[in-house]
Structure formats: structure tokens, C-alpha cells
Amino acid sequence: MADTLVAPADLAPDALSAEAPRKGKRLMTLNMGPQHPSTHGVLRIVLELDGETIVSAKPDLGYLHTGIEKEMEVKTWQQAVTLTDRCDYLANLSNNLAYALGVEKMLGLEVPAKAQVSRVMLCELTRINSHLVWLGTHALDMGAMSMFFYCMREREEVLKLFEMFSGQRMMTSYIRIGGLALDHPRGWDKKVKAFVDDFPSKIDQYESLLDNNPIWKQRTIGVGALDVERMIALGVSGPMIRAAGVPWDVRVDEPYSSYEKFGVRVPTEFTNNDVYDRYRVRMFELRESCRLAKAAMEAMPEGPFQADAPKIVLPDREKMKTQMESLIYHFKIVTEGFTVPAGEVYVPVESPRGEIAYYIVSDGGNKPYRVHMRTPSFGNLQALEALFDRKSIADSIATLGSMDFVLGDTDR
């Protein structure tokens, strides 16, 4: 893993940074990842160390690059939905939604109220799922083993809910252009209610283990700070920027899918911009998401779960078998899909990690001409070099964990 490197003897005093090493001082090059457990996926970072201090950190991406954007160009508009949840594998439904909202905007499609509120509920459950994985792995990095088991225990319940709705635990593809893939299963409300009623007590349990834990506090308070202006210039979004005192949340500022009805609260009291406050912000969001999911469940309207657009949405199975017109639409949608008017959109959505926005270009055909995913992990990870600069190597793991990135989301 590690090998040593002797800095050139004639190294200029300011060649690396303000506190440059002395002539001939030994720097250590440490290769972190791509299979290092605390890099949360396959991220490789090349660290230059001066003793315990990180002199430079160069991230190396692309280990999970699967060409999703290229593949979307050969799928029909509706087929491409299945690729959106394969990039950020912890926020599948948020990605489904970002893509569906963009295409629906281009089509001028009105989605029924039931589908909109379901989307809110499912995206909030997604946030709980994602934050639980973050909390469990982040705490595990810092030595709190049991947190991981507790978080996975509750995450399993969320995944069971996803499976109940869509038939899939992770790659749900449940949010489709025009509404949802399937109607709600029988008894869904009881299952969701059982979870959202029980979950707040679990959050209390996590907090009782961490909030005043001296080891946790020593490793997180005052660690991983960066100037707010610089964070914005680097493209950081989501809980990281909220923990730096910028009350920006896309759900509040550019509401979509009926979020404006639910009064999303943004945490404003945690502004120290350190690892501990990023933890506090996400714990706040766990509670808030649980509240929103419950509110959405209770306010769930009756009615259709798909838009009334026979050229876009697949017809009811029964109608397809009995009505000529439905059969024709079904055949056309399945064989060639539908066309989207030429144009472009950029619709932001708040994912558990920050701002997702799909820049979608249509040339009027039945496939996307170009889809560029602006993913939150990509923007947040770009701040890594600045966050690591001149910091101790022991703090780097805490900082890395607090960024909550998903490499599938970064590399696409």
C-alpha cells in the first residue's frame, strides 16, 4: 500500500504550501483505496503526507463509471428510468423523480395528486434509508460498531416497504414518467404507519448513543471545516452546506411534486460547519423526513396513480385485452415508445445528498438526445482536496464519512 518518496533536495520552499517541508525532508505517498473500507465504495485517494499532516490529496475517480449517460441515449424515454436508479444506489427514488420531473416538464404532463403525494412519501423514506446507511457506516468508521447494526435493522424495514410498493428493494424504478409504475398494494398504509410511528424512538436511541459520547465528540467537533464561500464555489450542496449555515433546500426554495403543501423545515441551528454539525443536520432530517412521510401518508388522495395520457402511459391490462384503441396504444408504447418535443430542461431535486438535476435534451425523438446528471456526490466530492488540505490523517476518515458520497453517483 505505502511507499516512501524523497522530495527533491532543491525543492523550492513554497512548492507545496505555506509550511513547506525542509530540504530533503521525506514525504510519504500513501495510496488510500480503491478498496479501502472507509472510502465508502471505490474511491482512490493519493495522499502526500508530511508526518501525520496531509500535504496533498488527489482523488482518482472512475472505478464505477458505467456509461449510464451514454446508455440512456439508446433507450426509449420510459426505459431510461431504469438507469436512473442505478447511479445513486442509496437514493433510487430521488433519481427516478429528478428524471421523471424533467421529462414531464418537457411533455407538459400533469401528474395526478395521488402520484405526487406518493412521490413525496417515497422520497422521504429514501432519505431515511440513505441517512441510515450514512449514519451506520460513518459511526462504524469511528469505532461505534453497534450503530451499524441498529441502522441496518431500521433500513431493512424501509427496504421492505420499497419491496412492497415496487417489487424491488433497491432498484425500484417505481416513479415513472406520468406517475407511478403500479398502484399502491393492499394494506400499504398500515405498514408505512407502523414504521413512521416507531422510527422516532429509534432516532432517540441513536442519539442517546452518540450525542454526548465523548469519543464521538472528540473526533467530530471542530473537524472538517471549510470556508462557506469556497464550498459554494466548489459546488457543495445538501446537508453539508446546511451545516455550514446556508439554509438552502430545493424542497423549500424550488418546490416540486407538491412539497409546498407539507411545510418542509430546514435546520438552521447547526452552523459550525464541522463533522459533528453535519451529523446533527442529518439527525434533524431523519426526524423531519419521518414527519413528512407520515404527513404524506395521512394526506394521500384517492384517484388515479398515473396521468391521463394514453400515448405515454401504458393502458390498464384489462382494457388492453378488451379495447382495440388501448391495444394499439400499448403496442406503440412498447415497440417505439413516445416522442418528447425538442427542447431542454434542468430540474433540480433535493436528494439525501444534495442537489440532483438532470439536464435533459430532446431532439423530438423517442429517445433522450442527451442526459447529463448533475449529481450531488460529484459536487460534494470535489471539495475533498480543500477539506483535506493541511489536516491530520486521523481526521481525514471522519471528514470523508461526513461528506456522505456514493461513488456510483459520482462516476455514473
Binding site: G62, G67, V74, A233, G343, V345, Y346, A357
Partner: protein
């Protein structure tokens, strides 16, 4: 759309539109840094993303799309604007936006990697996602979806 931004840009704007309520301005590729700096000074403090589109075989072939976002630090009215410019396929080159927003760095590396547009003045113009020895730019429209046979430099 807030027309004062268009007015401030004046003659730099080739075309402005507001389709689907998304403000878009087209500018000349040579003026891109001037336009981005001016918009930044007018409150667009965030570069949300830089995207590249290949319009092959049309010329100018590559379109670069800068999605800007005005994010007041203490809350307040937010705005978005899209700046677009075209570069030719023969010599795809444009000035880097890194001096204006540090965060442009990885987006530009990604476009360089996947579309083959070079950003002059970029501090670290290397491939970002594809392997270093990769030949070609996979997001170009004339690059086949199934790819060419794997061709890493070290295997030659």
C-alpha cells in the same frame, strides 16, 4: 425571467429565450469568461453544472451548457440561468471557467474526457472517468454504444 441580466450582458447575448420558464442565453464561445464573470458579479454565486452536448454532424458541433444558480447565503430569492455556447468540431477548445468558479474543474475534466473538448487555462486537464490510456471520447455521437474493443495503452 429577470430581464435586467440580459440588459446587463448587452451585446454579449446572441439570443435569449425563456422556454418552459428556464432562462437561457446564447453567447459566443470567445466571450464565455466575460459573460460568466459578469453574471457571477450579479449574484449567480453557484455553478450548478457544466454539461456538454454533441450535435454531430452539425457544425459548430459541441455545445457547452453552464447552469448557474443565484444562492443568497442568508436565504432570499433564488434564480437560475443557463448560458450556452458552441465550439467547432475541428478544434474544440474554450477557455476554462475554473478562474471564475473552482467547482468547474471536474465538470470540465469530465467533458474533456467524454466529449474531447479542451479547456484552455485549466489547471489539471486530464481524463476524469475513463482509464488514462483510453483512446477516443465515448459520449461523442460517432462513438458506438458497444465501444471499440478494449484498448488500454499498457496492453499494446
Amino acid at each position: 425571467m429577470d430581464n435586467s441580466h440580459i440588459a446587463a450582458l448587452g451585446g454579449l447575448v446572441l439570443e435569449a429565450s425563456d422556454t418552459l420558464n428556464e432562462a437561457t442565453v446564447h453567447v459566443a464561445a470567445e466571450k464565455i469568461i466575460e459573460v460568466l464573470s459578469l453574471l457571477k458579479s450579479r449574484g449567480f454565486n453557484r455553478l450548478s453544472a457544466v454539461s456538454g452536448v454533441d450535435w454531430h454532424p452539425r457544425e459548430p458541433r459541441f455545445e457547452l451548457v453552464y447552469n448557474l444558480h443565484a444562492l443568497p447565503l442568508k436565504g432570499g430569492k433564488q434564480e437560475r440561468i443557463r448560458v450556452k455556447c458552441r465550439v467547432s468540431g475541428a478544434a474544440p477548445e474554450i477557455a476554462s471557467a475554473v478562474p471564475v468558479w473552482e467547482g468547474a474543474g471536474w465538470y470540465e475534466r469530465e467533458i474533456f474526457d467524454l466529449l474531447g473538448v479542451t479547456f484552455t487555462g485549466h489547471p489539471d486537464m486530464r481524463r476524469l472517468l475513463m482509464p488514462e490510456g483510453w483512446v477516443g471520447h465515448p459520449l461523442r455521437k460517432d462513438f458506438p454504444i458497444h465501444g471499440h474493443k478494449y484498448d488500454y495503452a499498457e496492453n499494446k
